[in-house]
């Protein structure tokens, strides 16, 4: 068979075998990878140049242990590979195998090979295997399996050229490894005739899993169903027989091709694991780790934050002198720039946070957290998996919450409305980090433990407890047949690859910044307008221009101040004051909170815009947002408006408050169930308000 100029190449393998890393390497795309099973939940495609003439389409399939699907996302593979007429049916299949556990990997390998797809074996994680004392004889493996075997390192990129070379040449089909005919010869023959197919295993898969195929028609499914009854086809029994038979074969192959020796390194890791998953010490280590992470975020982030703040202040000052006085000057130096500065001075904190989380994700520790938390979380109707999104970013793609349960539609809907927004990872931690870095004083207890880190730890547990409590409440109202299983492989700890870490962190920071810029700029323009114009617009206009032409920039603030009280912003502030006062917010905070329904991080930007319109209490770095906040005094009470009670109240509010824009876009997307997002909005805002109110009154 000649090679096409644009062949379809599919990647398949066990979960956590490095498939996504290989996909990223081949396509140059950055799909999320992580050292825990299930990061890829749907198929993804990209393209890869194999040589001068051939550009392949690469399809990444979800990681599975066997061709037999137990849930929807596992069905994708058998649906594609079982039907040569499927649009994604590959010309070549790359099977990526984890060399440190060949036996288990080869089960799926022999299955897909027997389906009659031309396949090559990419042998990954040979370094991990070596650490575990396993030596693989690649030549022998090639002989035993009868397919091309390429050693690769999906993370460093070694062996990739060999793989590409292999893929740019035709791949031969090989005879099946395991014969299914003795299991159900008669019925297979009938199906082969009826559907006009040659491959016995493909026919056998029609019988086993045809009912969930997206290609077969309902008449064909009906036919298969009747056939199964006619032949008394015992599906699970035969599956068990097949698996055991295949493993027998695989055992022989692996014994021929690998040698196992004792590994001191593995023993050491096993000891480490014992502590990490220990029923008492495991939790202690987890909390301790969080403590250290949160401490270091603020300890490291503080100094560069002040540098950035100063830099922004200087830039604003220079810009103000550069541009002629007037509306444009005011818009830039008191509207847009302070708002952007207000957010971007916290990039150092976020950088530390993203690096540490990426390290955790890459190391394999997250799987230990799932194991550790499962028993505890199950008491509240959650699974251990739902602990991960609270910390990890990559896990956003994992349908962590109750996903594998067979629940009634209603329960699922209720979960989606009431629990998901509490457990989801929509950047809650970054927002906490920003608010804490801004409002909580940078002080240490006993010279060692910084208060900011402690507050973040407290907020982490607060949102965690809120999530499990609400899930627990819901358990009372709905009944659900719990059928999920924890059953998962515990991946080995691996040393992180810095390139991967770099990519993860870069994507996170870029994503955060882009999102911030897109929302902060328009909001700050609106805010600036609200602050500078009032109901008696004409007078305001005159005032701005006259004051600014008469006075220097520093003085202009002083004279603008009286007008602030006549601005739209101030009127709106007055209007909402009765609502926000019980939470301990003054009107600038209230306005900023309102604006943050666009996106949480906008809050800081809006606050910075408002404050740059108020009289500066310090002279030179009057443009510095941090100094402004620290030196701010409430005119009524002569106290700082950011007393502890207000700050905690604000944080608690943000633990729950929804983002209207997200809700709105969902409303527009599926208008049919408009009531669900609305209900969610009311519920979450109510929850935010009530808990902030309670916390404020408790503390003040």
């Amino acid at each position: 068979m000649p090679v096409k100029s644009n062949p379809k190449i599919a990647l398949i393998g066990n979960p956590n075998s490095g498939k996504s890393s290989l996909f990223n390497r081949l396509t140059g795309l950055s799909q999320k990878v992580g050292n825990f099973p299930g990061v890829t939940v749907e198929k993804r495609t990209g393209s890869c140049r194999l040589d001068e003439y051939i550009t392949a389409k690469i399809i990444d399939l979800p990681g599975i242990y066997s061709i037999y699907a137990r849930c929807n996302e596992e069905r994708v593979a058998v649906d594609i590979l079982g039907h040569p007429q499927h649009e994604y049916f590959p010309d070549i299949l790359v099977f990526i195998a984890d060399a440190s556990n060949l036996k288990r990997n080869l089960l799926l390998f022999t299955q897909v090979k027997d389906l009659g797809v031309p396949v090559v074996l990419a042998l990954n994680m040979l370094d991990v295997a070596e650490q575990a004392g396993i030596k693989v004889d690649v030549e022998k493996l090639h002989e035993e399996l009868g397919v091309q075997v390429v050693p690769v390192n999906a993370r460093s990129g070694e062996g990739l050229e060999d793989l590409k070379y292999l893929l740019s040449n035709p791949v031969k089909l090989h005879k099946p490894s395991y014969n299914v005919e003795p299991l159900a010869g008669k019925i297979i023959t009938e199906v082969k005739e009826k559907f006009n197919i040659e491959n016995s295993y493909q026919a056998y898969q029609f019988i086993q899993q045809g009912d969930s195929s997206t290609i077969l028609s309902s008449e064909e499914k009906e036919y298969l169903h009747k056939l199964k009854i006619k032949h008394h086809f015992n599906s699970p029994g035969l599956q068990a027989k097949e698996t055991i038979g295949r493993y027998k074969l695989i055992n022989e192959i692996v014994q021929q091709a690998t040698t196992q020796s004792q590994s001191g390194f593995r023993l050491l890791l096993s000891k480490v694991d014992k502590w990490l998953t220990h029923p008492v010490w495991g939790y202690a280590i987890f909390v301790g780790l969080l403590f250290i992470i949160f401490q270091s975020i603020f300890a490291i982030g503080n100094y560069p934050m002040h540098l950035l703040d100063e830099g922004f202040a200087r830039a604003t000052h220079q810009l103000q002198e550069l541009i002629p006085d007037g509306l444009l000057n005011s818009l830039l130096t008191k509207g847009v720039l302070p708002a952007l500065a207000g957010i971007f001075v916290f990039i150092p904190h976020l950088l530390v946070f993203y690096v540490i989380v990426a390290l955790l994700e890459e190391s394999g520790y997250m799987s230990r957290i799932i194991l550790l938390m499962d028993k505890f979380m199950r008491m509240f109707g959650l699974t251990g998996r739902s602990a991960v999104p609270l910390l990890s970013n990559a896990a956003c793609g994992v349908p962590a919450l109750l996903a594998s349960r067979s629940c009634s539609n209603w329960r699922e809907k209720m979960n989606g409305i009431f629990i998901t927004p509490l457990v989801n990872c929509s950047g809650r931690l970054p927002v906490y980090i920003i608010l804490i870095a801004l409002f909580v004083p940078f002080q240490t207890l006993g010279g060692l433990i910084n208060i900011q880190g402690l507050v973040l730890l407290g907020m982490y547990f607060f949102s965690f407890i809120a999530a499990i409590l609400s899930s627990w409440l819901l358990k009372f109202f709905t009944k659900c047949r719990e059928q999920d299983h924890l059953l998962m492989e515990l991946p080995y700890f691996t040393t992180p690859y810095w390139k991967d870490i770099y990519h993860i962190v870069k994507n996170n920071i870029a994503g955060f910044s882009l999102h911030a810029i897109r929302t902060v700029i328009p909001v700050s323009v609106i805010f600036w307008a609200l602050l500078n114009f009032g109901p008696s617009e004409k007078r305001d206009q005159e005032n701005i221009t006259t004051y600014q032409s008469q006075l220097g920039p520093g003085q202009a603030f002083q004279h603008l101040a009286p007008d602030l009280e006549d601005s739209y912003a101030s009127y709106i502030g007055e209007f909402i004051e009765p609502v926000i006062k019980p939470l301990g917010f003054d009107w600038p905070i209230g306005l900023a909170v309102l604006s943050s329904f666009a996106a949480r991080e906008v809050f800081v930007g809006s606050l910075a815009t408002i404050y740059s319109h108020e009289p500066a209490s310090t002279s030179y770095p009057a443009y510095s947002i941090i100094e402004r906040i620290e030196s701010r005094i409430n005119p009524h009470t002569d106290e700082t408006p950011y007393a502890l009670a207000t700050v905690i109240s604000l944080l608690v509010f943000y633990a729950f408050a929804m983002q209207y824009f997200n809700v709105l876009s969902r409303l527009l997307k599926n208008g049919a169930s408009w009531w669900a997002p609305l209900l969610q909005l009311v519920y979450m805002t109510g929850l935010a308000y009530i808990s902030a109110f309670a916390v404020y009154n408790l503390l003040s």
Partner: protein, 79 residues
């Protein structure tokens, strides 16, 4: 002591560090998944960690570590 020997039947009854050989498992979907993950009759299994109160446990079988719940482990009977 003897009574204890006859009572012990499943992987869930193994103590930390103890080993056993799998005899049988259920042929429901969970059993099939266990089978695919290497819990094949005749395979040696050892208990790596186990919470004293039950709940989750971790076994070493077939060259890898599996974490599972006690009720999942109960379906794996031992020789």
């Amino acid at each position: 002591m003897k009574a204890k020997e006859t009572e012990r039947k499943s992987v869930a009854d193994l103590k930390q560090g103890e080993k056993g050989i799998i005899k049988k498992l259920h042929s429901d979907s969970r059993g099939l998944k266990l089978l695919e993950l290497g819990c094949i009759p005749g395979t040696e299994v050892s208990m790596k960690y186990k919470a004293p109160s039950g709940g989750t446990l971790c076994i070493e079988v077939f060259g890898h570590d599996l974490s599972l719940r006690a009720e999942e482990a109960k379906t794996l009977t031992l020789v």
